[in-house]
């Protein structure tokens, strides 16, 4: 494979937990704990997991909207981690973000046209009439019209606002867009439209997506590859078909069987309480929740192991998981 567009290696973000005035800090929440993946140009990688597993933090760390504790993020071979904010700013042209909340991510005091033109002005690419012209074209590209340029965000529905946010993200012609739950705040009827728009834009412009979502259906709709996160770690990553139809990791199976309508017989249920995100990773965080699969996490080092080309599963003994998966027919 040629050099990937984005290479994330051992990304770590720990949020220190403050103790009382005299108590010593009880530790840190390990929101992201050694995450690695690649994204190729024009590809979309889905990042799924339950809320609080660190998927949004991962997205923000890659763009350095949150300063990561450690690890490396290379974009087109250029390391982003050591860059000063001033050196990072020109790089941001190529890396854009779409946020979950289309109501909060547009300035209520700014006309939509100005909001879309802002990135152009920031990077000195266009201003005045030229910027307005480009904003108009971008609006048409996302399925709105030029008449919307002079409206304020409150005049739009959630789906329309998310379209405006997409137009804004596209303004600089980025190569990668981090989509942080871009449709989870929208009505189900509107979700499909926005997903189709993202899909069409990818085909048209060849932009790559890091698609963060808790919704497996959404990820299955858009993504080429899927990574499943659990407590700050990737537990399974691979091609969409492999991860979503033949999952090996019990956590992925549990997520899939939690989707309404999945066959009752194949249900994998999580047991006990989620382990504390402050504890360092250990076998216990798996064995306590998947007692039936405990054997796969004992008697070896727990790391990502290759089950098939491009399909990796975090465990200690892969063959146990493969045997269990073969025994229980999954959906």
């Amino acid at each position: 494979m040629s050099e990937p567009l984005l290479e994330v290696r051992e990304l770590v973000k720990h949020f220190p937990v403050r103790g009382g005035a005299f108590a010593k800090s009880p530790g840190a929440v390990r929101a992201v704990d050694g995450v690695s993946f690649d994204i190729a140009a024009g590809e979309s990688l889905g990042l799924v997991g339950e809320s609080g597993c660190g998927k949004s933090t991962t997205g923000r760390c890659i763009l350095r909207l949150i300063e990561p504790t450690g690890g490396s993020v290379r974009f087109q071979g250029q390391e982003l981690m050591g860059l000063s904010q001033a050196r990072l700013r020109p790089m941001r042209r190529h890396l854009q973000m779409i946020f979950q909340d289309p109501f909060g991510s547009l300035n209520p005091r700014m006309r939509v046209g100005d909001a879309i033109a802002e990135p152009l002005e920031v990077h000195g690419l266009a201003r005045g009439d030229a910027a307005r012209e480009r904003a108009g074209r971008l609006l048409e590209q996302v399925g709105l019209t030029r008449e919307h340029l002079d409206r304020y965000p409150h005049e739009f529905s959630g789906g329309q606002r998310q379209r405006v946010c997409i137009a804004r993200a596209l303004a600089l012609g980025p190569q990668l867009i981090v989509c942080d739950e871009p449709v989870s705040a929208l009505d189900v009827s509107v979700q499909a439209q926005v997903l189709n728009l993202l899909d069409d834009l990818q085909r048209e412009l060849g932009v790559a997506y890091l698609f963060i979502s808790h919704d497996l259906a959404v990820v299955g709709h858009v993504c080429h590859r899927v990574a499943v996160m659990y407590l700050g770690e990737i537990v399974e990553i691979g091609p969409r078909e492999a991860v979503l139809t033949r999952p090996l990791h019990p956590y992925t199976q549990a997520l899939l069987s939690a989707v309404p309508g999945s066959p009752a017989g194949s249900r994998v249920l999580l047991e006990g309480d989620p382990p504390s995100p402050m504890e360092p990773s250990s076998a216990r965080r798996f064995t306590s929740r998947f007692p039936r699969h405990a054997a796969a996490f004992e008697g070896g080092e727990i790391r990502l192991r290759e089950a098939a080309p491009g399909h990796q599963v975090r465990c200690a003994r892969l063959e146990v998981l493969q045997d269990l998966a073969a025994a229980v027919p999954t959906a």
């Binding site: 790089m91 854009q96 909340d101 909060g104 300035n107 802002e118 920031v122 946010c165 993200a169």
Partner: protein, 285 residues
């Protein structure tokens, strides 16, 4: 709604500015303020025969006094017009100074965070602990030979803390707004975000607070002048007029009118200002 707020601010500002300018003497000496020029009269002209007259009383020169005369026979109406100018100019400039200083400190504190924020806020609290009235009195007395500008500066410098605190709170909230983060994600600099997103959203708060300061500053200016602190600075101000006529008041004196008129004028000014500001706040929602 945004438009109404903008128009209301503009109207109020224009009103204050013209009133202030009409009543301000830019140079010492003969009729130089607009209002004196229009009336063709001199607020400083004394007339011992016409002392302490009630409103509409006939004057020695055949005319009638509109709202009465003061203890030296000067026209109270004209003096009150000049006092209005003094009051509004002093209060307006002091409020503007407080707003500028408060906004600077507040945004700096809110954006910097951490130790700078702690330091600036403790400084703000410490300076809020200084009894402003006393300090202004001392400063005004010490600086009175230099005209009224030092008084005004001293007042502005001493009233910026509430503005700074409100601005800081607003900036802290805005800094975490998603649209500010979105602006950062598209590559904007801190200065850009301040200019395009944070300051425009802070402005209404600043103006609302500056407005609240106006009546307080007008009262303070009147108090200082009444006590004779800024005596050399402004010959015609509410405080000085009230002080002058009050000094002539004795239990046997029948001329209570000249005291009532300036007090009433001051009260009406404050009432009108408060009502206008209330209406503004309402329009702003």
């Amino acid at each position: 709604m945004r438009l109404r707020w903008g128009v209301a601010v503009a109207v109020l500002a224009a009103l204050l500015a013209t009133t202030a300018l009409a009543g301000v003497r830019w140079r010492a000496g003969a009729p130089s303020s607009a209002i004196e020029w229009v009336c063709g009269a001199d607020a400083d002209r004394t007339s011992p025969a016409d002392r302490l007259l009630p409103p509409l009383a006939p004057l020695g020169d055949g005319g009638r006094s509109l709202v009465g005369t003061d203890e030296l026979g000067r026209s109270l109406g004209l003096r009150l017009c000049l006092a209005l100018g003094t009051s509004l100019l002093v209060a307006g400039c002091a409020a503007a100074a407080a707003m500028v200083i408060g906004t600077l400190v507040g945004t700096w504190s809110g954006l910097a965070g951490g130790r700078t924020d702690e330091l600036l806020m403790r400084l703000t609290e410490a300076s809020a602990g200084i009894p402003a009235v006393v300090v202004v009195m001392v400063l005004a007395a010490a600086l009175s030979p230099y005209g009224m500008w030092p008084v005004l500066a001293a007042m502005g410098v001493l009233f910026w803390q509430p503005v700074a605190r409100v601005v800081r709170a607003r900036v802290l909230a805005l800094r975490n707004e998603l649209y500010v983060e979105a602006s950062r994600a598209c590559g904007s600099s801190a200065w850009w975000r301040l200019r395009r997103h944070i300051l425009p959203a802070t402005a209404p708060t600043v103006f609302a607070y500056g407005g609240l300061l106006l009546p307080r500053l007008i009262m303070l200016e009147a108090l200082l002048a009444f006590l004779g602190v800024s005596a050399a600075a402004a010959p015609h101000s509410f405080g000085r007029i009230i002080a002058g006529v009050t000094a002539t008041l004795t239990p046997l004196s029948a001329s209570w009118w000249p005291v009532l008129v300036p007090c009433l004028a001051l009260a009406v000014l404050l009432l009108v200002l408060n009502l206008a500001l209330d209406r503004l706040a309402e329009a702003h929602g």
